[in-house]
């Protein structure tokens, strides 16, 4: 990759090359962390030392010990086990958000970018409206209208990620639209749908993947934030946001749960950011 970058004076060239390698390494680090998290989520029943909801009233709010490596929460549940089982919903939520927003946002972005004109303008106004709310607030209002829970939270967050992704796709399509290969397709008499899905979409897939990876991290934060406010996944389900919410009440007595959940969420989000940045960097230069 880096070798094809034309050299523009020794120092500038070398400096860019170094930062590129660093970005690639941090992307690998992020990817490895994500892989570990996925394995943990899938193999949760094998890895967790206790069931996530095994209550032990004789062992509440205990510090780390050999029996409970990260201690226990206010109901005597093993924090490590809840963290491991929590990975399932905490990763499934953002996965659904990214899936829904991709399924809706990519076609809308392709349509607006390729068709242009009135269609593009109307879509743009709708995005402006959805993004005119401060982030999370529309989701909070939606939770108020429906009822708090995993499904409401996922749908409410997904609605906000549709315009975000659609805009990225739209600008990528506008760049591609004026390139020679699109003209060549037109000359050969291909239909617009064939040009867009068969020729333009494959070119911008890397851009979509990079943006979706970044969005995964942000959606994870948003969903954990909603659960933390008591507006997302509800207790006693094992979920990182729920652990934050429950652990916060005992931060003075036993900070283990809230610290473990905070650090896990922070590490997961940084991992998705590193990978997303590396992917964006890699494909923007090619």
């Amino acid at each position: 990759m880096a070798t094809v970058v034309p050299a523009r004076g020794g120092v500038a060239y070398r400096r860019r090359w170094i930062s590129r390698a660093t970005i690639r390494k941090s992307g690998l680090l992020g990817g490895s962390i994500i892989l570990i998290l996925i394995v943990v989520a899938v193999l949760a029943p094998l890895l967790a030392p206790y069931p996530p909801n095994a209550i032990q009233f004789l062992h509440t709010l205990e510090g780390p010990s050999l029996a409970h490596l990260l201690g226990t929460d206010y109901l005597g549940r093993d924090i490590l086990s809840r963290l491991i089982f929590g990975a399932r919903l905490s990763l499934l939520g953002p996965l659904l958000v990214v899936g829904i927003s991709t399924a809706v946002g990519v076609p809308l972005g392709l349509l607006g970018g390729y068709a242009g004109g009135a269609v593009d303008m109307i879509l743009g106004r709708v995005y402006d409206l959805l993004l005119g709310f401060p982030p999370l607030l529309l989701a909070i209002a939606a939770v108020a209208a429906f009822s708090p829970g995993f499904t409401t939270a996922v749908l409410a967050i997904a609605i906000i990620y549709v315009p975000l992704l659609a805009r990225v796709v739209r600008s990528a399509v506008i760049v591609e639209r004026n390139k020679a290969y699109v003209d060549a397709c037109k000359v050969r008499g291909f239909r617009a749908s064939r040009i867009v899905f068969g020729h333009v979409l494959p070119v911008i897939v890397p851009t979509i993947v990079a943006q979706a990876t970044l969005n995964f991290g942000y959606a994870l934060l948003d969903l954990a934030g909603l659960a933390f406010l008591g507006l997302g996944v509800q207790p006693p389900t094992a979920d990182w946001g729920v652990m934050l919410s429950e652990g916060r009440k005992f931060i003075l007595l036993a900070p283990e749960e809230v610290l473990a959940a905070s650090v896990t969420i922070a590490v997961a989000v940084v991992a998705f950011n590193l990978l997303g940045d590396a992917l964006a960097q890699r494909y923007s230069s090619s």
Binding site: G132, P134, F146, L229
Partner: protein
């Protein structure tokens, strides 16, 4: 100006429409599942015009909102306006405190990193900003409470304090929690755009004319570097608002944000509508100011607007 007004009108319609999309009748949504007898229900239905068509309902509601009548809070048995009024101050103070931190520290870090580009100062600052910009205010809030309030006992855990100095002291941890990620975001954007501007030909020209480095950076390079910084400021405003909701809840501050969360939990829908509307209006006004500042800073946008 007109576009912002239209956008605000459209968002008010979305906020109002939620009551119609929500499961159950509008009255049930407004009452949040509380039971009332038939006569009261009829009175309320008439008062809120639920017996009229949807758009007429919206018209009445909008007229009331414009007149400062935001409806009644079911949980507090008071008007929404007076419930909200008592909660504005902490949110405003927290927001201003955090804004000052974001602007002062974010711009400073970004400028330093850009000037020292490629050196160790830049590497350390950039890495710290990369990590910090991935951290959400509730995570940083919890970590700050644990470290500075529980372990070190430098700051109080959950309270607002009295007097000006007490207020500043008590709001310090929440403001840092709110500002941390956004400071890093502003710093990263400032670094990127300023270091790009510093490589441009006109900056070299200014240097070769013998202007002092300070003047080159702040007068010549910063002017064009400021456009992306301004753009991200509009984005940051939104995160400050939604971050304030999370931070107030984390630190137990009695502001508008924690009132919003309480109201969603107690299904006090009129209060939720009002707070979402206020926050959205503030967000749109800030973005309007940002749009106006573009014109002040970049004469090209002025010409473009006159041309169209």
């Amino acid at each position: 100006m007109l576009a912002s007004a239209m956008l605000l009108l459209a968002s008010s319609f979305v906020v109002f429409s939620l009551i119609a999309i929500a499961p159950g009748s509008p009255l049930q949504v407004l009452l949040g599942g509380r039971k009332v007898d038939r006569a009261t229900a009829l009175i309320l239905e008439h008062r809120y015009h639920f017996d009229k068509p949807f758009l007429v309902q919206y018209g009445y509601w909008l007229r009331n909102v414009v007149h400062g009548n935001l409806g009644d809070s079911i949980a507090y048995r008071d008007t929404v306006a007076s419930v909200i009024k008592s909660r504005v101050a902490p949110t405003l103070e927290l927001g201003l405190y955090a804004t000052v931190l974001v602007l002062v520290i974010g711009l400073t870090l970004g400028v330093i990193a850009a000037i020292r580009r490629g050196r160790r100062t830049d590497a350390v600052a950039s890495f710290a900003m990369l990590i910090a910009s991935s951290i959400s205010p509730y995570v940083s809030g919890i970590l700050l409470i644990w470290f500075f309030a529980v372990e070190l006992r430098w700051f109080p855990v959950f309270s607002l304090g009295t007097g000006v100095s007490g207020r500043v002291y008590h709001l310090t941890l929440p403001a840092i929690a709110l500002a941390l990620g956004l400071t890093a975001l502003l710093g990263r954007v400032t670094r990127a755009s300023l270091s790009q501007a510093l490589g441009e030909d006109y900056v070299q020209t200014a240097r070769s004319r013998g202007f002092r480095e300070r003047r080159v950076i702040f007068k010549h390079a910063f002017r064009s570097a400021f456009i992306p910084v301004l753009t991200i400021t509009g984005v940051i405003a939104g995160y400050l608002i939604s971050g304030a909701v999370l931070v107030e809840y984390t630190f137990g501050l009695n502001g508008l944000g924690s009132l919003l969360v309480d109201s969603v939990q107690s299904r006090d829908f009129a209060v939720v509508q009002a707070i979402v509307l206020i926050f959205t209006a503030v967000f749109l006004v800030i973005n309007l100011v940002v749009d106006l500042l573009y014109v002040v800073i970049d004469p090209r946008t002025r010409l473009a607007e006159e041309g169209s």
